[in-house]
Amino acid sequence: MKLGELEKLVLQYLWQNDSADVKQVFGHFEKTRGGSLNTIQSTLDRLYKKDLLTRHKEGHAFVYQAKVERHELIGQLIKSVTSDFITEDDSSLVAAFSSISKEFNEEQLLKLESLIEQQRLKLGQESK
């Protein structure tokens, strides 16, 4: 699923403004980048079909809202594309610096930090 430039801008607008109908969105973009009401309507429809927006009817018009916040969406996408291929199905598709290092306890981390410090001291003494 790829997002076009206008789709990203509309999504960004809805992240900044809780909800809006097509006229309000068009009103904003008419001043900043031009375009027609139909273009904005079809952009909102596409975002809705991509499951990025929710909508409800108020009078005759649909009012659109972003389904999740920007950070939440990025976080969900990262979690999904990096889900560990050892424990979950398949993220045999990424090689992550940190994805395999999420599950430890404080004791294990302290032990490793102390080991690294010892090695640093040892190397420091050897180089003197």
Binding site: D84, D90, S92, A96, S98, S101, K102, E103, I116, R120
Partner: protein, 321 residues
Amino acid sequence: MIEGALAIWLNTLAIAVITFFIANLAVSLIISVLDQRFLGMEVEPRKNILWLLVVIPWCVAVLVSGYFLYKFSSLDPFSWSTAYAHWHHMDVYAVFSWHSITLLLALLGIAYVLIRKVSLLLKHKNELSLLSGFARKIGHQVYELELPQACAFTSGFLTKHCYITSGMLKATTVQEQAVILGHEKAHAKRNDPLKKWLFSILATFFLPSLTARLKLHMTLAMEQAADNAVLSEENISSTMVAATLVKVARLNAAEAPLVNNELVANFGADVLEQRVFFLLGQLELKPVNKLLTLIFIVLIIAASLSAIDSVHHLMETIFSH
């Protein structure tokens, strides 16, 4: 009942499937026995051994079925019937037989794995494409994602991209970022995302517990290789890489709740510990014994070749054609 060329091909396929199971069983036994020993092998040879383990059942299946086909087509019927390994009805194939059930199950199994992997690949591609829409290019192959959590990863099969979150950039120093990005670029250079995907497909044909062990070993080997690649860069020491690794682990641990599943926790911790021990030179990694590896390969081929007739006869004793 099918006779002639088609029967020969169907019987050859049946032989390939049964051989695959026998070789898979033999390899599973090796993995179970030598599991911990893999950790003591040098990184690159270990990766080769892991590839060999997942590929060998397929190769043995092709070799043994090819051998049967060759023997059938090159010898006269009398010497064929007394040969060491034989299939007494090579040119006759009973459609309603256990051979057909074996073939059908094998085909369904392979189709299920491939369809599942491809659909997951497409889902991943979609999500990554959406994610890249929110990314900002900050260097060659490197993209920043605006997110408070610390994360860095590499993805893509042909066009490889390294992603790093703004949270990670904020929480780390320039030198630590050089370690993280050096590590990610090493993954990209080695085509690790594609290799991991292919490896996971081949590993899926083992028992689930062995699949998980194989993937864990491959992940560890790939991570160690990428850690090692960073050391070739100027002004980056092994203690620096190890310290960055632990720091990122600490950042992740602070953000993600601890997993209760002991097995999962041990997996993650083992990989981190092994990487740190490796960087600090605390592991005595040894080269792979090539002669022993060759003996294992020959033994698996010989076992598959000699067991196929027994399996065949056993099945035909239990089930009729």
